[in-house]
Symmetry: C2
């Protein structure tokens, strides 16, 4: 059974969706540990209540390299095969990425390469797109720019607000993240330039 | 009946799709004239065979401002209300755009703002996106950056080539362009910044 490490900073609704997919037999994997850089993250408490190992490694006032080394050590201690960022509001250091080469996933609430960075749903809405969506990608050292594993599109309705659009995107995030994890764990792919080639 | 002017440089398959939509009663409008900057454009011959006014205004060796003035004059002569670019491989001059403010549409084979410019399908494929698509937008002076009227998404399959992907996108172009034209003609919208606001 492949072991997932989940990193989160907030509510962790994508973490809950992954746990649900495992619980319902849609994803064959085990959540080995949930780590947050914020001790007060609601997702950490949820993880505890669900019976998972939940670890706070506070980042505040800690040097980035030092913090990421602690995170990587914790992931290794739990024998993590694949790291899943789920609303983890920090850029990873190259050193951490090198310890999990092509084994860190992130989910981003836009159809990348459009609208990287913060408030992607708002960026999309203000741009006036009529199709929005979300992206699961491998994490590399560039912000929201690693090779794309899976994407889902949603319509932007004429009556939408940023909130209603964000809600629709989030539902798709919850749907595709566990599918993308399963696809990555199944193997039969390699990274070629910035594409994933499916074999 | 609102009158459309179609500009094309090549095969004009999007022009044919518009003509089909009108013929099948899915779009209430009339094609007033089809203009090409290339006398040998296959789309011009198709237009003639279908019984439309088809006019070549060769651009080769003609100064841009002069050429666009001739095009605008021809559009006006045919009482055109809305200009539809259908594979028209030229940037419009500001003077032409000013003569049809918010009344020029283009279709682009990507989910803008991703992949503007030439070979958008290839750009998307090489980027490794898993969702591609097409965009109908109002034409302003920036390349492929006018306010978005309509978009359609298509999946990128693991087995796709650039060709199979382009084919899938083109089918959606043919589907949405006439829908977008109908939506624009129906009114009840205004441009706010770079968004279209639907009232």
């Amino acid at each position: 059974m492949r072991r997932l490490g989940v990193l989160l900073s907030g509510r962790g609704s994508n973490f809950e969706a992954i746990a649900r997919a495992i619980g319902e037999g849609r994803l064959e994997a085990a959540i080995a540990v949930v780590i947050s850089n914020k001790a007060e993250a609601a997702g950490l408490e949820t993880a505890r209540l669900m019976g998972f190992s939940a670890v706070a490694i506070p980042s505040k006032g800690v040097e980035r390299a030092r913090h990421d080394a602690l995170v990587a050590d914790e992931l290794e201690r739990h024998g993590v095969d694949l790291v899943c960022l789920a609303g983890y509001m920090r850029l990873l250091t190259p050193a951490l990425i090198k310890r999990y080469p092509e084994r860190i996933l992130n989910i981003h609430p836009s159809l990348l390469p459009a609208f990287p960075g913060l408030d992607a749903q708002k960026q999309a809405w203000e741009h006036g797109v009529r199709v929005a969506g979300c992206t699961v990608h491998l994490v590399n050292e560039a912000l929201d720019a690693g090779p794309i594993v899976m994407q889902a599109a949603v319509p932007v309705l004429e009556t939408d607000t940023i909130e209603s659009l964000s809600h629709r995107i989030l539902a798709e995030e919850h749907r595709i993240y566990s599918q993308a994890i399963a696809r990555v764990l199944r193997g039969g792919w390699r990274v070629d330039g910035r594409r994933i080639v499916w074999e």
